[in-house]
């Protein structure tokens, strides 16, 4: 099992890769990307650790982490649904799809469901305009969506998750 301590030393090791480089501090964003990759989100303990290891004030790190919308500052769900809000998708009704998801999951954009299963995000153009409107669930793009198709898809994921849970309990 990976302990918190292992995580910490792995992060420090990652930071050390940059230590010899010119303008070491400028790699802050790369380090935050790493934290999110490993952790799913950028947590406060890691930011404190980075402050110590890189000599950057925590207030500044927090400022950077909150400036860039790619970084999650809260834990995210097992399934991240990103609704593309690019122009092509918008014109073809992305709003209705986002609204549908909000309605079904009872969350707003940027929030995670209580069961920790879904996080809803809005994405800038995903570059799949040919399939508009699209949404992405954990990096897989689904094209030509409708509110109904979206609802079905969420239902299916929920059902599978429940199945897994039941099997896990057995």
């Amino acid at each position: 099992m990976i302990t918190e301590k292992d995580k910490k030393s792995a992060l420090l090791e990652f930071i050390d890769n940059y230590r010899e480089k010119d303008n070491f501090e400028s790699y802050l964003i790369a380090v935050l990307h790493r934290v999110q990759e490993v952790n799913g989100y950028v947590d406060e303990a890691s930011m404190d650790l980075i402050a110590h290891a890189m000599g950057i004030p925590t207030a500044r790190i927090y400022g950077v982490a909150t400036f860039y919308h790619f970084f999650n500052l809260k834990p995210v769900g097992k399934y991240i649904i990103s609704v593309c809000m690019g122009t092509a998708c918008f014109v073809k009704g992305a709003n209705a799809i986002a609204d549908k998801i909000k309605e079904i999951l009872n969350i707003e954009t940027g929030e995670t469901t209580k069961d920790g299963l879904f996080t809803l995000q809005e994405a800038r153009c995903l570059g799949a305009c040919g399939q508009a409107p699209v949404l992405m669930i954990n990096n897989k793009i689904h094209g030509r969506m409708t509110p109904k198709k979206t609802a079905d898809m969420i239902k299916k994921i929920k059902r599978n998750a429940l199945k897994q849970k039941v099997q896990g309990q057995r």
């Binding site: 000599g55 950057i56 004030p57 925590t58 207030a59 500044r60 927090y62 400036f67």
Partner: protein, 590 residues
């Protein structure tokens, strides 16, 4: 780079130095372009866009604070279109700001309100959603109200560039940008040193001191207590500004008279305990000089500085003088020596302090400074709060009849007076250390090398065979620079004075706001306040702490001698490392 170039302003021809910004060039020509985020002591932000001008050949307006002037430039500062743009920009700021000027703490001394008036905003066109955030009152010293913030970023730059504390940063972005400590943690859990400089530099009331006036009024209503006040040197040098006087008036007797009218039974002078601090500190220094304790010794009277050391330079804690600050020494004596004299229980004494400082509110609450389990100073108010109480109670401050500080803790030497200005503690300490070391009196006592607003000042003082190397820093950023020098060259100095605020206590976070014709951190204003103190010193016949007869008496009657057992018990303390969020360890990571 410094050659003169021709420019045109509103059609008029001028010659200005090259290599400066349009704003500076215009300042020199008698134009004062409206401005908000610009501050001469801070880096250029170019964010508020209030200082825009038209420059011929540019498609858009240019921010004069950042745009360099160049030869043959044609600048328009006052076209109809430009006036409307500036007006609209200021309205946009105003539209996202509470409309409570008449109940605001700034009492109209507000750059935004002034701008709004000057830009001619008599009506709102664009009102809409306003930001709504919780007010952070967790800190003992500073209240943060993001609703009033106009995002000029002066506090962020000050906290980082001048104070090198970095407690504040921008978080989130766009319309949702907020200035806050890391993780939006309460101020009290942050790395904030409570210096209060953010209050001074804020154009509005996004930062104000924790207001304790109501509490004090209530305490003054208690019929069963003896009410004792103490007043810091710098309060007298600045309070006049709150009553529309130019900086530089020394107003101690008006303060004493007003405090008596407010209901205080005794008004003591923190300058007395400053003299006492010098006795203890100079003695401690001489002990260390003889090999008992690490050098350089560093002063400990500035509260913000003490929190800074505990957080950022814990390795220097052994170098810090163990002396309490003059405020805490006075508070301690009031609740011990004077309580015994009055035959009153310490619990029945109200010990109030009027300080130029917000950090003293934090210091007074430090548990390690308690005497017999209770606070030595019950309540601390800033110069601004004092001025307000005087106004509120209907006291005619400027015509208040002159009264003197009360005995036995009211008489002070000139050395105690100059504590308020950067370099003053060192100067005072040397006046006494010289005597204690050599038994002779230092005649040339005005140490000009240690005066003035240079960030780090150095001097060498010869006492007989011994050369003492001293340094003085004011502002936490300069202090940090000085400590970095000491780290590299530990033997460079014997004795260091550090003050957390720019200019020393006279520039404290609790001093009157910059008025219409001034700017925050204005050097001219700081120098005038300092001069008020140096002037008082010059007028005094007793100018060395050890010559103060009341100081001699308290040692004779009560404390024994400097660094005696009782002195140690009452007047000295120790400090501990602190690690709130936002600490940078400058060395390697564990």
């Amino acid at each position: 780079m410094d050659n003169m170039i021709p420019i045109k302003v509103n059609g008029k021809e001028y010659r200005v130095k090259s290599g400066q910004t349009v704003m500076h060039a215009l300042d020199g020509l008698g134009y004062k372009i409206p401005r908000l985020c610009y501050h001469p002591k801070l880096s250029i932000e170019g964010a508020c866009r209030v200082c825009i001008v038209e420059i011929k050949g540019l498609k858009n307006y240019a921010a004069s604070c950042s745009y360099p002037v160049s030869a043959n430039m044609e600048i328009t500062t006052n076209s109809r279109e430009l006036r409307q743009a500036r007006r609209d920009i200021v309205e946009l700021i105003l539209d996202n700001h509470p409309q409570d000027c008449h109940t605001c703490d700034r009492d109209g001394i507000c750059e935004l309100q002034r701008l709004a008036y000057a830009m001619g905003i008599r009506k709102r066109y664009f009102e809409g959603e306003r930001k709504q955030y919780a007010i952070d009152t967790s800190s003992a010293s500073v209240v943060r109200d993001p609703n009033k913030c106009v995002l000029c970023g002066r506090c962020v730059r000050l906290c980082s560039e001048i104070q090198k504390v970095n407690a504040l940063g921008y978080a989130h972005r766009g319309f949702k940008t907020v200035v806050m400590p890391a993780f939006n943690k309460p101020f009290s859990e942050s790395v904030c040193t409570t210096c209060g400089q953010c209050i001074n530099v804020c154009p509005t009331a996004a930062f104000v001191e924790k207001n304790n006036t109501r509490e004090l009024f209530e305490m003054l209503d208690d019929p069963d207590t003896v009410k004792i006040a103490q007043v810091a040197p710098s309060v007298r040098a600045a309070i006049g500004e709150s009553f529309n006087l130019e900086p530089g008036h020394a107003m101690h007797s008006e303060i004493v008279a007003s405090l008596k009218k407010l209901g205080f039974d005794y008004v003591f002078d923190t300058q007395f305990s400053a003299d006492l601090t010098i006795m203890e500190e100079a003695s401690e220094f001489l002990e260390r000089l003889e090999g008992n304790g690490p050098l350089p010794m560093i002063t400990s009277c500035s509260s913000a500085w003490m929190k800074y050391v505990e957080q950022f330079y814990p390795e220097f804690i052994p170098n810090i003088s163990s002396c309490k600050s003059p405020m805490s020494m006075m508070g301690t004596l009031v609740k011990t020596y004077f309580a015994e004299k009055l035959k009153v229980k310490p619990a029945n004494i109200l010990s109030a302090a009027f300080m130029c400082c917000t950090a003293k509110k934090y210091e007074a609450a430090r548990p390690e400074l308690a005497v017999n389990g209770s606070r030595s100073v019950d309540i601390v108010l800033t110069t601004r709060e004092l001025a307000w109480m005087i106004k509120s109670a209907g006291i005619d401050f400027l015509n208040a009849k002159g009264e003197d500080f009360d005995a036995p803790l009211g008489l002070s030497s000139g050395a105690g007076t100059i504590f308020g200005a950067t370099g003053g503690v060192m100067e005072a300490a040397i006046r006494t250390a010289y005597f204690l070391y050599s038994g002779e009196t230092l005649l040339d006592i005005e140490l000009n090398e240690l005066r003035g607003l240079k960030g780090i000042k150095e001097s060498r003082i010869k006492i007989h065979d011994k050369e003492i190397r001293v340094a003085v820093a004011h502002g936490l950023g300069n202090s940090s620079d000085l400590l970095e020098t000491v780290k590299k060259d530990p033997g460079r100095y014997h004795f260091i004075e550090i003050m957390g605020c720019p200019g020393g206590c006279i520039g404290g976070g609790g001093q009157p706001y910059a008025t219409a014709n001034s700017i925050p951190l204005d050097e001219d204003c700081l120098l005038k306040r300092a001069e008020a103190l140096y002037g008082l010193d010059r007028k005094k016949t007793i100018r060395r702490s050890h010559d103060n007869p009341d100081i001699q008496r308290i040692y004779k009657e009560y404390l024994g001698r400097p660094l005696s057992k009782l002195s140690h018990q009452l007047l000295h303390t120790h400090y501990k490392e602190k690690t709130p969020h936002g600490i940078i360890w400058k060395g390697a990571v564990e």
